[in-house]
């Protein structure tokens, strides 16, 4: 399950791609550029790790893009409000705002899970509603203009370095280690696979299906809020129009990494590779001056190719759905 052979295939392709780019793209193989790739991939990557859990659990979260924008704006709004109306110094108001924004993410994710559990509304619908709703809420908070209440040190979170490595990349790595442990070595992770593989069989085995799905959705929404905070720090403002369409990039990375949209199959490690793969491709094309339109086309082709590859390998195992 976590060691499907095609993940190595994708890893080999990734390494080959890096070697090829080092050859043909000027400046690709410099420390600065590689760190740049890492930084650019890390915010979507953080969300993709959570999304992997959600998709393996047989659910989906379409609201993550809007959630990033909303979390950034909400942090900015709260920071500004705490600083001006309560007179708090920004060294206190910004951290408090961050905690509140992340907590809001946790709350929204739990709400999606609760609605899924209690009223059997598919997460596709609830998060579709949230996607529009949060996007509107972000515009309302900011009144359509970027909010810039942040103190200068705030930029460290999204734009700073620690021991030469971009801070968001460190957060990404941290989240990867945590989710990887969670999915591979805990009863929770095992339950996520079971619930997505066959919810009724999981229920009859004594697994609390609703709580597991809710937890996966809540973790992902929390991670989206974390990414939103990092994003607002990088651009030093709360901007409602940022992170448009991220949900699709994130889902694409998860699928390229070998996770099945029908649930029960996939891995956090695969998603990591999927994220890096997309990051390298985009960076390479930018360095080679490929137009942005072409970049979109190539990305589309990649998603399809990765899924086809997945199918070919799944077929070579015995087709699990059909086998007696």
């Amino acid at each position: 399950m976590s060691h499907r052979p095609h993940h190595f295939v994708l890893e080999i392709v990734l390494v080959a791609l890096c070697i090829a780019l080092a050859w043909i793209a000027p400046g690709f193989f410099s420390a600065e550029n590689l760190l740049n790739v890492l930084r650019n991939s890390s915010m979507q990557g953080i969300i993709a790790l959570g999304m992997t859990m959600v998709i393996i659990a047989g659910e989906i979260d379409l609201s993550v893009g809007s959630a990033v924008a909303f979390a950034g704006c909400w942090t900015a709004y709260l920071t500004g409000m705490l600083t001006t109306t309560l007179g708090w110094p920004s060294t206190i108001s910004a951290p408090v705002a961050i905690v509140m924004a992340v907590a809001t993410g946790l709350l929204l994710g739990s709400l999606t899970g609760f609605i899924r559990m209690k009223y059997q509304v598919p997460s596709f619908i609830t998060t579709l509603a949230l996607m529009t709703g949060l996007s509107g809420a972000a515009e309302l908070i900011t009144n359509g203009f970027p909010l810039t209440p942040f103190p200068e040190w705030y930029n460290i979170l999204g734009g700073g370095y620690l021991a030469g490595i971009p801070v968001p990349a460190l957060v990404f790595l941290c989240v990867f280690l945590c989710t990887s442990f969670l999915m591979n070595h805990t009863v929770f992770g095992r339950s996520v696979y079971a619930v997505g593989g066959n919810a009724e069989a999981a229920r009859l085995s004594g697994i609390p299906v609703g709580r597991i799905k809710t937890a996966a959705l809540a973790i992902t929404a929390t991670l989206a809020a974390v990414a939103g905070v990092l994003q607002s720090s990088e651009i030093m403002s709360g901007t409602a129009t940022t992170a448009k369409g991220w949900e699709l990039d994130v889902i694409a990375a998860v699928i390229i990494g070998g996770t099945s949209l029908s649930g029960g199959v996939g891995s956090v490690r695969g998603t990591m590779v999927g994220v890096m793969f997309l990051g390298v491709i985009i960076n390479g094309m930018t360095l080679l001056n490929v137009s942005e339109y072409w970049q979109h086309v190539v990305r589309g082709v990649l998603i399809l190719a990765a899924v086809l590859l997945n199918r070919v390998y799944a077929g070579r195992e015995k087709n699990p759905g059909v086998a007696a």
Partner: protein, 497 residues
């Protein structure tokens, strides 16, 4: 009058002969029942007659003309239609649409392909009138009872005016009352001259409505008899052969201590006021038909569904089943009837499936341990003799018998006091079946109380200490299995309301 003759029909599959020189002579205008145990070759025969499978040898004669089907379409053109237990209807469409599925009448005119709804409705109305069936034309099927949907299925099959109608257990999910309206319809068809071949497990239905009874035993025709002469004894002999003395396998006595007491358990509409107690080391068989409430009873005892009233006594403590997790903790577990849908997570490995229900023991502090899980797999592999090449491969790569053992192993690993086995031998081969019997007896000797539901009545006689008869959601009696013969058991199940 239609006359269907089958002469020496054989069908060989790699490794098995499903049908051996089967011959029969069926006349139109009559209902011909076809009986036999699971795996006797009934479905193979239906598949040959509908053109889905070619016979390996033999001839089919329709009115003395030989028939040769290259595809199901050929069989349809020859006037053969089939109705199965599984409904092939679209629940959101109404009766008119379902009856005309795939062959809606089209209007001639400027717009090609425009559906002629008036003609479709007229045709449906005529068909229903002719068959003396009354159904609402424009109600989506999901609002009709299963019995009425089954009627729609038959009406749909009659839409192409076939001369021969094959019914493969269309009433097995229906109660006797519900099944009656299906029988009435089939009788109307027979009176019109249609030749009806009716496969059934429910022997008690036969005498009330079929004209002849033909039995299949291990792929061989075991004779045809007029249904008036089809006594339970006669049918048992036809299905099982002259020598129906089974060697009872169960040889130990249950202990005197009660492990589970069920008190006036009710879950509407499946079962009402069920009470009995199960002793340690005892094997109880529930003898009841599909639809009698037997599966629902087991599900409720295992916490999969919640009861409307009544409770259990476990370890001297009363309790009401609320969830599978709760009942698992109390030591009551169930292997479900349908292992692919409810028993296994087929995408995941054997190791994960076997350890899934006992993670609380195998994963201290909620951290999983591959080593402990592998040990658990090895233990169950030895205990249940699971043929396993690699425990990390998806469980779907195993044979049916081994999958069933994995389901059993998953629950055995939780150290239960009571095991509820719903159709534990369904769809598994003979060797796995024999092993399953041995396992059930070994576990009961160790003191586990067992309740078994099986459609194969002879299995219950082999394995059980005691039989509970279940009809229409009620326990109607009990019997000591050692003093019960298959004939009396069958007669008992046949004396229905």
């Amino acid at each position: 009058m239609t006359l269907l003759e089958l002469q020496n029909i054989s069908r060989v599959f790699p490794g098995t002969v499903a049908l051996k020189e089967f011959s029969a002579r069926w006349e139109g205008g009559k209902i011909h029942a076809l009986i036999g145990r699971n795996g006797a070759g009934k479905s193979t025969l239906v598949n040959i007659l509908t053109g889905a499978l070619p016979p390996t040898s033999g001839t089919i004669l329709l009115n003395d003309a030989p028939l040769r089907f290259r595809s199901p379409a050929d069989a349809r053109r020859a006037g053969i239609a089939a109705v199965y237990q599984e409904l092939s209807l679209l629940p959101d469409l109404d009766v008119v649409e379902n009856v005309h599925l795939g062959r809606l009448p089209v209007r001639k005119g400027a717009l090609p392909g425009r559906v002629d709804w008036k003609a479709a409705e007229r045709h449906t109305r005529d068909l229903l009138d002719r068959l003396h069936v009354s159904l609402p034309l424009h109600t989506p099927l999901r609002h009709l009872s299963v019995a009425r949907q089954q009627l729609v299925e038959i009406v749909k099959a009659m839409g192409s005016a076939p001369g021969i109608l094959l019914c493969d257990e269309p009433t097995s999910a229906l109660s006797y009352q519900e099944a009656r309206c299906v029988f009435a319809l089939l009788r109307t068809l027979a009176d019109e001259g249609v030749l009806v071949v009716y496969i059934t497990h429910r022997l008690q239905e036969i005498r009330s409505f079929a004209d002849t009874v033909t039995a299949l035993r291990d792929g061989i025709s075991a004779g045809t008899t007029p249904s008036a002469e089809a006594t339970p004894e006669r049918m048992v002999t036809m299905m099982f052969g002259e020598d129906v003395r089974f060697t009872r396998m169960v040889d130990h006595s249950p202990s005197s201590s009660v492990v589970l007491e069920v008190r006036r358990m009710t879950r509407k509409p499946a079962f009402t006021d069920v009470s009995f107690s199960l002793h340690a080391g005892e094997v109880i068989g529930i003898a009841g038909l599909m639809g009698s409430g037997r599966t629902e009873l087991l599900r409720t005892l295992a916490g999969a569904d919640t009861p409307d009233a009544g409770d259990l006594v476990l370890h001297g403590q009363p309790c009401v089943p609320q969830s599978p997790a709760q009942m698992k903790r109390l030591g009551v577990v169930m292997t479900p009837e349908n292992r692919k849908d409810d028993g296994l997570i087929t995408l995941l490995s054997t190791r994960i499936n076997i350890s899934l229900a006992s993670l609380d023991r195998l994963a201290p502090h909620a951290i999983t341990s591959r080593r402990r899980e592998r040990e658990c797999v090895t233990r169950m592999q030895k205990e249940l003799d699971i043929a396993l090449s690699d425990p990390e491969r998806p469980v779907s790569s195993l044979s049916g018998g081994n999958q069933q053992k994995v389901v059993l192993g998953k629950w055995l690993a939780t150290d239960p006091h009571v095991m509820l086995l719903d159709e534990p031998t369904r769809g598994i081969d003979l060797k796995a079946k024999a092993q399953m019997f041995q396992t059930i007896l070994r576990l009961s000797r160790q003191g586990i109380g067992m309740i078994i539901v099986s459609s194969e009545l002879e299995e219950l006689l082999l394995l059980c200490h005691r039989l509970l008869f279940m009809q229409h959601g009620r326990i109607t009696g009990s019997a000591d299995a050692s003093s019960t013969t298959l004939e009396t058991l069958l007669a008992r199940c046949m004396e229905s309301s």
